[in-house]
């Protein structure tokens, strides 16, 4: 037993794997193993109406190299980037605001942030539709009856509406990690620092930002990835007129009955995103080390 403990202390690798045992078990059995099914499917021919035929082929991967899909990916990428930046700009001050409240109030504020999201996603999205619709939406109707605008603003059925919907939907995913990183930042420390440097921006740049960076990095990822794969919000708020990569993939599994191609598209996207995510976290953790 003692030997075990010393081994444990001497070999951090064991400790780490001990901590990882439950997650590794769960994810390998209930995620990676099923993922292998999809991987195999992506090399098979489609069954005419769903399912697969057991003939090996690389055709599905060849089909992913299609200018249409590149174009769609580019468009999804653009929308996801704008969404992430907007979410960061709105969410960061909000997280900072919550973190700088007295400890007693913080919990309530965080809960208040989440409560809107315990209603149903579709119902929330349709509530936005009530606000944004072109001719009968509350915003345009109000502005027009006030005489501020003559023609209804194009608030619905375009990229603007999609981005509003996505920013709204993923705001908590940005705020929570930033708040988690900023919470318990010693505010007397900040006061002292602001006396010392005597300038707000300096305090922010030298103390607050570096501390919050892990949160910003995590939050940005939690917003960017689901925005890239979104397909319900573009369908409802974008009026279904914008094609995103999420629509293409889900259409392959459902409407087109083409599981192998849907799997191949999923794998290509996952590979690209996984590589990007790993590089992103590597780069940013170096940056964190440099900053601290």
């Amino acid at each position: 037993m003692k030997k075990l403990l010393t081994l444990l202390r001497k070999r951090p690798s064991f400790q780490a794997w001990l901590l990882l045992l439950p997650s590794a078990f769960w994810l390998f059995v209930f995620f990676i193993a099923p993922l292998f099914i999809v991987l195999i499917y992506s090399f098979l021919e489609r069954g005419t109406y769903g399912g697969v035929q057991w003939h090996f082929t690389l055709e599905n991967y060849r089909r992913t190299f299609d200018p249409l899909y590149f174009k769609t990916f580019g468009r999804s990428f653009y929308i996801a980037i704008v969404t992430t930046i907007a979410t960061l700009l709105i969410g960061y001050p909000l997280a900072y605001y919550i973190a700088s409240r007295p400890a007693k109030r913080r919990g309530t504020l965080v809960l208040a942030l989440m409560i809107p999201f315990w209603t149903n996603f579709l119902v929330r999205t349709y509530a936005w539709l009530t606000l944004l619709r072109t001719h009968t939406g509350l915003i345009n109707v109000t502005l027009m009856s006030l005489g501020w605008i003559q023609k209804p603003l194009p608030l619905f059925g375009n990229d603007f509406a999609i981005i509003v919907g996505l920013v709204y939907g993923w705001l908590p995913d940005m705020v929570l990690p930033i708040y988690a990183a900023l919470d318990r930042l010693d505010h007397s420390l900040l006061e002292a620092a602001s006396d010392l440097y005597a300038s707000g921006p300096n305090v922010f740049r030298r103390i607050v930002w570096p501390l919050s960076l892990p949160g910003v990095v995590a939050g940005s990822m939690l917003v960017f990835i689901p925005s890239l794969g979104a397909f319900v919000t573009p369908a409802i708020l974008g009026g279904g007129k914008t094609l995103m990569i999420g629509n293409i993939i889900s259409n392959q599994f459902l409407a087109a009955h083409d599981w192998p191609f849907g799997s191949a598209l999923s794998f290509v996207m996952m590979a690209v995103m996984l590589a990007a995510t790993l590089i992103y976290f590597r780069a940013t953790s170096d940056e964190e080390r440099r900053q601290l």
Partner: protein, 299 residues
């Protein structure tokens, strides 16, 4: 310069600084308020239209409460609400423990296989929902595990929840919890833990006395995120649930085929009321809590 003039100039400067600070603080409050207003704007609309005297929520047609009566008589909807809560709570608790442990390992150690685990932990976030849903359905079907119901008595309501749904929810929640907790860990100063380790010389006590309290905001954030994702998931639940089991999002998705009726809004409003009551309770409990302990202020 006379001493009097100097002190007057100084006090004016400090008054200016004070004013500036107050103004900044005021603007800051205003910002916070606007942020919350943005979050609650569609929610207010949603609640208003739950009282709409029309089959649709497309235009206001007068006040009624009959959608609430309708909802209360719809046993299927009420049952699906309980199912949702049960799945969300159980999967949050399980993924919280598993995800936090994973975050500790990933952030505090260098070890063989780290890059692989990194990838494995990010994949559930990256994978398209529909691909994950279909692969889980096939997996549960071929392996023969999962579709058996977990018969649970949940606050007096008898539920039969397929294990497959909970397994699927935990599988994606682990990753979200791990990401948020890692963000907290990366920011935490390890010096304190090292000092504590020297002091207690017992990793177990160091963890509970030092690491865990410092980790709490991350754990809470992860829990809230996991709970919310689980409450809202449609695609994976739809495909991994067997016959006769529905969560609220699954019900709502099939209901909108016939348009959004205020009944769905009424269900959402009910949940809203329920969560607001919870927060009020937490506020009352929190009042008695210790100023420095986030645990008390959180719930």
């Amino acid at each position: 310069m006379s001493e009097q003039a100097l002190s007057r100039a100084l006090s004016r400067r400090s008054r200016m600084a004070h004013l500036k600070k107050q103004l900044g603080e005021g603007l800051f409050h205003l910002y916070g308020l606007t942020g919350y207003l943005f979050l609650y704007l569609p929610i207010i609309i949603l609640v208003i239209f739950s009282f709409n005297d029309s089959r649709s929520t497309a235009q206001w047609a007068g006040f009624t409460t009959h959608w609430y009566a309708d909802m209360m008589n719809d046993h299927q909807i009420i049952l699906s609400l309980w199912n949702s809560l049960f799945v969300a709570i159980v999967s949050t608790l399980v993924s919280l423990v598993i995800g936090t442990l994973a975050a500790l390992a990933m952030e505090r150690y260098r070890f063989w296989g780290k890059l692989m685990m990194d990838a494995v932990l990010y994949l559930p976030i990256i994978i398209p929902d529909i691909a994950m849903a279909i692969m889980l359905l096939i997996f549960f079907d071929v392996s023969g595990i999962g579709f058996q119901p977990w018969k649970a008595n949940f606050f007096g309501v008898h539920l039969a929840v397929p294990y497959s749904v909970i397994i699927g929810h935990v599988a994606f929640n682990i990753s979200f919890v791990a990401v948020v907790v890692r963000a907290r860990l990366a920011q935490m100063d390890q010096v304190l833990e090292e000092a504590a380790q020297d002091l207690y010389a017992d990793p177990w006590r160091t963890f509970w006395r030092v690491t865990f309290p410092m980790l709490l905001p991350g754990i809470m954030g992860g829990a809230l995120l996991a709970f919310t994702l689980s409450m809202d998931d449609f695609v994976i639940t739809f495909f991994t649930s067997g016959a006769g089991f529905n969560t609220l999002p699954v019900r709502v998705f099939s209901m909108i085929k016939k348009g959004v009726t205020p009944k769905i809004n009424a269900v959402s409003s009910l949940m809203l009321l329920f969560s607001l009551v919870l927060v009020a309770i937490s506020l009352i409990i929190g009042k008695g809590g210790d100023e420095n302990s986030s645990a008390n202020t959180m719930f």
